[in-house]
Symmetry: C2
Subunit: 335 residues, 2 copies
Amino acid sequence: MVKLSEIGELELIKRLERIAPSAGPGVVKGLGDDCAVIEVGQEILLMTTDQMVEGVHFRSERTDPAKLARKLLAVNLSDIAAMGGWARWGLLAAALDGRTDLSFWETFTQTLVDQCSARDISLVGGDTSSSPGPAFFNLTLIGRADVGEVIYRSGAGPGDLVYVSRFLGDAAAGLVLLENQDLDLNPADRAYLLDCHETPLAEEELGPLLGASGLITAMIDLSDGLAADLGRLADAGGLGAEVDLETLPISPQAQALAGRLGMEAEAWALGGGEDYALLFTVPSSKAEELEGLVRRRLGREVRRVGRMQARSGLLGRKKGKTAPLNIRGYEHFRP
Amino acid sequence: MVKLSEIGELELIKRLERIAPSAGPGVVKGLGDDCAVIEVGQEILLMTTDQMVEGVHFRSERTDPAKLARKLLAVNLSDIAAMGGWARWGLLAAALDGRTDLSFWETFTQTLVDQCSARDISLVGGDTSSSPGPAFFNLTLIGRADVGEVIYRSGAGPGDLVYVSRFLGDAAAGLVLLENQDLDLNPADRAYLLDCHETPLAEEELGPLLGASGLITAMIDLSDGLAADLGRLADAGGLGAEVDLETLPISPQAQALAGRLGMEAEAWALGGGEDYALLFTVPSSKAEELEGLVRRRLGREVRRVGRMQARSGLLGRKKGKTAPLNIRGYEHFRP
């Protein structure tokens, strides 16, 4: 007998992708990207689902239900943003122990409804169940995108520049803080990093802007670390990539914490999950235009971290030398 | 501190319905029916989500993963059928203990994919996670319906006849058998009742036929027993209903088991969940036409079980006398 833990999440997903037909009524793209892309009449819909499980994604004794609701929404919003679209409708499934405080549920649902309403997302369906133990929350989001503006993981070409939308590794640094409450760090840095972990923000403005720009070739959201997610984007395009390790965008706060621990923050940037930044590729001829667009429209900078290559595999470049990037991102079922 | 178990599932859902806005972009009907009804361009979409939790909906040590996959699909298909539509796309979220056998996952997913493919449903999205204990499965289905053929829980008028699509209480009887393996019953009856519980069939043909017929006024699927679900349909229309207890359609198999236990199968029909038959209402002037249509098109009979009334509340009629039906259906969180 083989156990799931011997196989790991990535292999499980691959096996499911192998058996699920990729074509079907209205299916432009099924499994294998951040969202499914569905054609309904003249319209394009994006569909995604993401769960948060007590004891895996959060621990209820230290979890603020409002933060949990925001994060559950954000991780789903991030998938929709990564296709260049925006969310419109949501369905929530929740399983909870009967001994759970009603106030936990009420704060969770009120926050979710408020956060949805602020974005013109309607919570239109749900299912509640008791649970024999851990709490389980699953949100499905259905969004829209303009025809021709959907961005896939595939699509990058050799030589395209690789960008990320913001600092990397802050969520991983926040998790270290959460699990080591006695770590010494100044209160502002601590609050910033904890926020990055507990209430990440999806790139809801940037995603559709990039989708509509006509300047990018591929996109994915960073949920499992730069190495894992760039690996996925590269695989989807049949390419490889080189990461410039000396210019990885790392926040001063993550650097401060790494310094306190006597380690390099680079490990969080490459292998830490839950950043929910966007990772995207741009032909080098359009890089300047892209950077200018984001600066002009959103008043912010996107950060170049590497370059796609025809040869498969991920390389890291440091001090003029390259070496294979052997960093595994977060994977469920793996010990 | 108030616990969820003191409130119960119905009150939890009511509270969520109170805070979630009922209007939004494209929202024809949000929370509060079997599916959400969404308008996308000229098209109508139906959306529903349902979960199965280990230790609540099934026990893995006695659960065949193929049956579990069929049931998870059926309970969602039933919600779509109850609106008069048909399913097109599905998203699966699963959380499993890492010690789970890979063969459980493979049989589950292969069955789900096969069952979906047989119906032209595409499995287009998913999320896998480890679980610290019980397994959770959540399926979201998105379906279609023809404009003007969507049937809601509301819509019944006083005097409309109440129909169910098939025998009631078989799933509840099957659960009794499952939990009391040494009960004496003939093998064919046992197999039939266990099947009704373990692999219920959704009314995938009947639902769209009724939706398109123009003859019915309201519909709901029977997931929590006739009393609970008829109560919901009546509430949605601001009405009450009277159930004819002497003509409840009860299978010979359920009657045989009830006889063996020295009880009335009526209790299973009224209070037992998971039948996934359809419950619908028909103006009395159209009853004959409706019965004829179903007979002609599907070669089967639907069963009349009562009548809607202007006065709220549920009554049961037996031997010419009526009395309030005080039967509570299945409700999560209630002891």
